[in-house]
Symmetry: C2
Subunit: 225 residues, 2 copies
């Protein structure tokens, strides 16, 4: 099948929807390749990588070939090159400006977390309705009143909105975000957002993650009996 340049420097295969199973694995490849680079490893075969990552070599080659041929027969993959290409695919080659809505425990924790910035995810402002928080700063990032959200979004080029507010407030804020043209929402609120099809939502439902752990713990205990 022919591969073509989509205009952003990333090779994408024509007319082929990438499955979400593949997308979920990309950041993990990125992480392992970053570690390999830090270790000074220059090249790696799908076989070697499969052992480290505990997946099949076949899956690695299949996954990568969704985006183009990054390897070389008889050689394997150049670690730095592959890392760079996956970075591009993941959109880490440009800044992704963010706003955080909700300056509670998680909103503050995310704002304080330096690592996102290293990957180009830069928080420009935090929004909250609490008058005691409005006007303060978190790691130099201003906390504004949620009433100013629409105005701020119109005046600034924001790519990603992070929702760390109670679910009751999330519906209303989501409407504002969509109206202001936000196309990506990182949702920590415990509800499924209703958005137009051109808006992508990535959910982080911590309590659901914890329940899965609890299930598997209980299941393992039952097996023993």
């Amino acid at each position: 099948m022919s591969a073509q340049d989509a205009g952003n420097g990333v090779l994408t295969v024509e007319n082929k929807e990438i499955s979400s199973a593949v997308i979920k694995r990309l950041p993990r490849y990125h992480r392992y390749l970053g570690d390999l680079m830090a270790q000074g490893v220059e090249r790696i075969s799908s076989q070697e990588l499969s052992v480290r990552m505990n997946v099949t070599a076949s899956q690695i080659r299949q996954d990568l070939n969704n985006f183009g041929g990054f390897g070389q027969q008889g050689y394997g993959y150049n670690v730095a090159y592959l890392y760079q290409e996956i970075s591009k695919i993941l959109g880490l080659d440009h800044e992704n400006s963010m706003v955080i809505i909700g300056c509670g425990n998680f909103g503050q924790a995310l704002a304080n977390y330096q690592n996102f910035e290293n990957r180009g995810f830069v928080t420009k402002a935090i929004f909250d309705v609490n008058p005691e928080k409005v006007g303060t700063q978190v790691r130099g990032i201003p906390v504004l009143h949620t009433d100013e959200l629409a105005d701020f979004l119109h005046k600034n080029d924001i790519k990603i909105a992070v929702l760390t507010i109670p679910k009751e407030a999330a519906v209303e804020v989501t409407k504002v975000l969509v109206d202001c043209g936000i196309k990506a929402i990182w949702n920590f609120a415990h509800l499924d957002l209703d958005v137009p099809s051109d808006v992508v939502v990535e959910n982080v439902h911590l309590s659901e993650s914890l329940m899965q752990l609890s299930y598997r713990l209980a299941e393992a205990a039952n097996k023993k009996k």
Copy 2:
């Protein structure tokens, strides 16, 4: 196929491994059923639920029947009963005591988050190596030195350890946890933990979640062109 009582009051189907795809969906069923209860809905058919949850009715029935027949032909499912049964399956019918290791941004945010307690996830202590934090409290939960972790685990019946420390420290702490008999780890550190097969690990890799969002945002932008 015959269903039998595994001794914990939860009906489980014999000799059948539940797929992780099913397990991931359980907390969402639980959430929707909780919402329905709050709305005063007494019964619901798989068809009605499928519309609300945006999945197929077939999938709902298949998923539930992994654990037993909770419905009734011609009637549907009793919301309160099904909610209760799924709660049991998820291990929410008993307390799950936790320790949080790492009193940084996320450790504190998780400790401050009241909601986990409502589901039986009770944090008994937080551990950190920072002498300025040791001896303080977060929402009444004591912060102890990580050196005391093994001793604390021996003296208290802790079910779940939450890892919110940098990855460099995570390997060593994980060894201590495993040695002390911890069987469930909720891992926020950016590495894949190496644990015995009887220890379950649930990963929350926030930066990987954010990268998936970034990918999908970039992909949607490419499509438009």
